[in-house]
Symmetry: C2
């Protein structure tokens, strides 16, 4: 009897945003696995530790390098998957800790694919979670999107390639991982008179959470890797909003 691999989405940082299903998986699992960076730190494990839980004796710290080199990545995913599959084949259930939501820009998809490549018959279960942008919108008390408003979610560097078109089409825009392009983004929003429609949030729900409503104060500064910008232009496609043609109302 092989074990089951469960992805436990933990939400973006606040341990109170762990779901009941993820909590049950955590407290009943004989083995946890979690992603670590080069320094051995784990954002996902830290969320669970802030909840007062400790890793069971059986733990797998899996290294996922921060690179875009496909070969390096594929090797890391396969090595991680081999460690997980060994436990599953030994009949042990493994819970993989995931920050945010396991289906949304997450390492888990890669791990699951590598695990299935090693043994397509293994059981994989995904517990969905709260995404960073959901938590960010709640933290600033502003809807992410409403009514008939389309919403786009982009890695910020990708969005910068055609920001004009995106700002024209989308009432609501989430830009993730803004650090590498923050100054250019601020300049672009300023040029379009949209600075007041944007809010910056980093490390939402963690002790390091920071919300900046005046983006111009961030010019030339360095921000965290897990930082995002929410942009919402109220164009009256939300039901019961201000009339069509009204300017941006932050």
């Amino acid at each position: 009897m092989t074990g089951c691999l469960t992805a436990a989405s933990l939400g973006p940082g606040d341990p109170e945003l762990i779901t009941r299903a993820a909590w049950s998986a955590l407290v009943s699992a004989p083995c946890w696995a979690w992603p670590v960076n080069q320094e051995g730190a784990s954002y996902a494990l830290a969320i669970v530790e802030r909840a007062g839980l400790s890793a069971p004796a059986e733990g797998l710290a899996l290294h996922f390098p921060m690179t875009r080199d496909p070969e390096t990545l594929a090797r890391a995913w396969t090595e991680a998957a081999m460690q997980v599959v060994e436990r599953l084949h030994a009949g042990e259930d493994v819970v993989f800790l995931v920050e945010g939501d396991a289906s949304t820009y997450s390492t888990f998809g890669h791990l699951a694919r590598a695990v299935r490549a090693l043994d397509p018959g293994l059981e994989v279960r995904i517990i969905p979670g709260v995404s960073s942008f959901n938590a960010a919108a709640a933290a600033i008390g502003q809807p992410l999107a409403d009514g008939e408003e389309p919403l786009a979610i982009y890695a910020a560097p990708e969005a910068m390639r055609d920001l004009d078109a995106l700002l024209t089409t989308f009432d609501a825009l989430v830009l993730l991982k803004v650090r590498p392009v923050l100054d250019a983004l601020i300049a672009a929003l300023d040029a379009r008179g949209l600075l007041d429609c944007a809010v910056f949030i980093e490390c939402v729900g963690t002790p390091e959470e920071r919300i900046v409503r005046d983006l111009s104060t961030l010019r030339g500064t360095r921000v965290q890797y897990l930082s995002l910008v929410l942009i919402r232009q109220d164009r009256a496609r939300g039901l019961g909003q201000t009339p069509p043609g009204a300017p941006c109302t932050p």
Copy 2:
């Protein structure tokens, strides 16, 4: 001392997806409020009841009509807000039950705005939750979006206005509330050879959940109001995917 209005996001249907924060709010609140339709049914209250909780004696069933008429809506939101504000002014904390996430296409934004219009000083707190599309992606075991892939979320009727452009730009597309345009959507995806990239999910996480991977079988049928279609074209912008130029790989 006035009370605090808390939006408790409950996730899309499975009571196991209620967060720890929302659970604490539910079990400690002296008063719940929940949206009901014309027949008095409440999707949000049903989630909590499936979790084994019952509404406290102090309960407010708030009617939000299913209409797009701005005047009717504004009147309903104000009437609901007046009932909530009465409790808050009496010093009672009120927890408003929200299906999905309170910031994402949710009635709560309207209620909060109407409450603030009556008394801008009242405290409003939002507990974010799992969105239907997060849960749907988990249910089908497929990433919603990955790597550098942009993700767009649309009410399906809005998306149909320019579906070609959306399918060209977005590797990942979530179409919500597909019922009114389902046949046209199926025809459009079929014409582009993309039927295999789409999955239909309705009432995710509820006893009525249904997942349909062959959309052509839905032609001419009637589906639930809370139904969505996830479309993902693998164009190798996800890290470690198939090479650029490869066709859609469902």
